[in-house]
Amino acid sequence: MSSSKKRRVLTYGRRRQLCGWGFISLWLVGTVMFFLIPLVKSLWYSFNTVTIEPGQINTQWKGLAKYTYVLDDAKFTAALESTLVETLWKTPLILIFSMFIAVVLNQKFRGRALARAVFFLPVIIVTGPVFKIINGDIDSTGSRTAEQFSTMMSTDLVDELMQFLGIYGLSDKMSVIIGAVADNIFGIVWSSGIQIVLFLAAIQNIPPSAREAAMLEGASAWEYFWKITFPYLSPFILANLIFTVIDSFTSPMNAVMARILRMKSEVLYGEASAMAWIYFAIILAMIGIVSWIVNKFIYYEND
């Protein structure tokens, strides 16, 4: 009796297993063909000189030569440095900004629906070439054709925002700092769409019991943020951090990516692959270190 029951459980389990494989089989085939094989090939190319002839692709083993060549390429290392530095200071700003806006958007006030619709708007535009045009940044050839447009826009923006806020005649040093931040306000605001959405969703998932407890204890709004909101948000800081880094990584305005594309257009495929792998390794290491640190401060409710 018990053995037959056991067998039935097993077969049910096995059937579920097969069904699981069935549901993911299409993806699995695709992943092998369009993800895993290309990934391995790309790693292989980075150790080779790649030449394309009609009908086939030839590779010639060069060991680490491509990597040393790439690391000697001053343009690449410069692009790498500037991109990494930018990611380092922009990411925390984006996270703080989006968390702040999410907290504000969660409050009850008139016009909230409209405010939300406006703030999520960048989500639909920021991944496309329109963003490149309105941000007026470096185009694919590396020339700054849109520079004039860009500067016109950002100075207008700063001035008008300042005047709008009623700020005139600040001290010089102060206005330089504000100017630098303001020049980047556009980029920060426009890169925060998804992060705001995620933080907002997380805030709305804070259990009402936590809120009631805080009310009963008479917590001020400031205390409420640090004692309740922030701990509940902490897992999403990590998620958003990773998302922000990946987003800057794949952004069409990334100088490193522009350099890689340039290599590719010069048919230096081995070098292009080596560059991409170096960049990818650095980003992975960065994400790894930061997640390790951040993980120590995260509060998980289920633990």
Partner: protein
């Protein structure tokens, strides 16, 4: 006292939101303002936002330069088509990862996470050779470059643009649905596939809407993949990417004449406006469901 505090904060909140909202809306307002004005208004210092001379010529000229009729048709068939196919394939995959236990699941899900982390630029070159000599090595191979299959095949197998993220969203969502749904369907004699189609999909409407919006937007905005595998396609994004050249050719009859950025602004802004208008309209209709969908999709749990 408390009320006064509330009022002060309300005022600050308004100032902050208005300021940031201004930063978000600025380019859009500027687009509308530019697209309908005549060129002389660009050099007129008294004109900032509201043009003095209205005209539809700029819109018409840009429409012609971008060959919008043809471009929109290609975008619809290629990008929007792929995005729809990908929503379905990612939903099926996400469901498989969410509701079934099988050996190797952890490893395979690790690959999904890898798909999110690996930038498309890293694998685009081997993908090119993959499509250039598509088939089994030594047996047969076909050239798929310039064929729509280069975008449809990955989309069909849940490996298209940012598919890792979409699988993740669906998995989180399906994981959150109650087990009883499945049991009830099982008792009523539904097989796993039927359970998925009849019971799970109708319950996942908000997740579908969210992923659908993302999928359409990402495919609509994509120029990288579309330019990698095609020698000559005209989707909205690729046309926009070469807008300077296209406009110079159309307006001055020569692609080599680089007009100054300032001179081209009106046409560029008109082009931007036309290309984002369709997704903008879609967003306006869907945005309420979209934010609710994310809240409910369990992305936050």
């Amino acid at each position: 006292m408390a009320k006064g505090k509330e009022r002060v904060w309300g005022f600050f909140r308004f100032v902050i939101l208005a300021g940031v909202g201004f930063v978000v809306l600025y380019p859009l307002i500027y687009m509308v303002s530019c697209a309908f004005r005549e060129r002389i208004d660009m050099t007129d210092p008294t004109v900032m936002w509201i043009p003095r001379h209205y005209t539809l010529d700029i819109i018409k000229e840009t429409w012609r330069a971008m060959e919008m009729g043809k471009t929109l048709r290609t975008t619809l068939i290629l990008n929007v088509g792929c995005s729809l196919v990908q929503v379905v394939s990612c939903a099926v995959t996400g469901y498989g990862f969410a509701r079934f236990n099988f050996r190797g699941k952890k490893l395979l899900f690790g690959i999904v996470i890898m798909m999110i982390l690996v930038p498309p630029q890293l694998i685009s070159l081997p993908m090119y050779t993959q499509f250039r000599f598509f088939g089994i090595k030594g047996v047969f191979s076909v050239n798929l470059i310039d064929s729509m299959l280069t975008m449809y095949l990955p989309a069909m197998t849940a490996n298209g643009i940012r598919s890792g993220l979409m699988i993740l969203i669906f998995r989180q969502f399906f994981k959150g649905l109650p087990r009883e749904l499945e049991d009830a369907a099982c008792i009523d004699g539904c097989g796993p596939l039927m359970t998925f189609v009849r019971v799970m999909v109708p319950n996942a409407a908000s997740a579908f809407l969210t992923v659908f919006l993302f999928s359409v937007v990402w495919y609509w905005n994509d120029y990288y993949v579309s330019t990698s595998f095609f020698t000559n396609t005209q989707t909205v994004a690729t046309v926009l990417y070469d807008l300077d050249t296209i406009l110079s050719r159309a307006l001055y009859g020569n692609a080599n004449i680089k007009a100054s950025a300032r001179e081209l602004i009106v046409w560029k802004e008109a082009g931007c406006l036309m290309s984002i208008l369709p997704i903008l309209i879609m967003y306006i209709f869907l945005q309420k469901h979209f934010t609710e969908g994310i809240e409910r999709s369990g992305l936050a749990t």
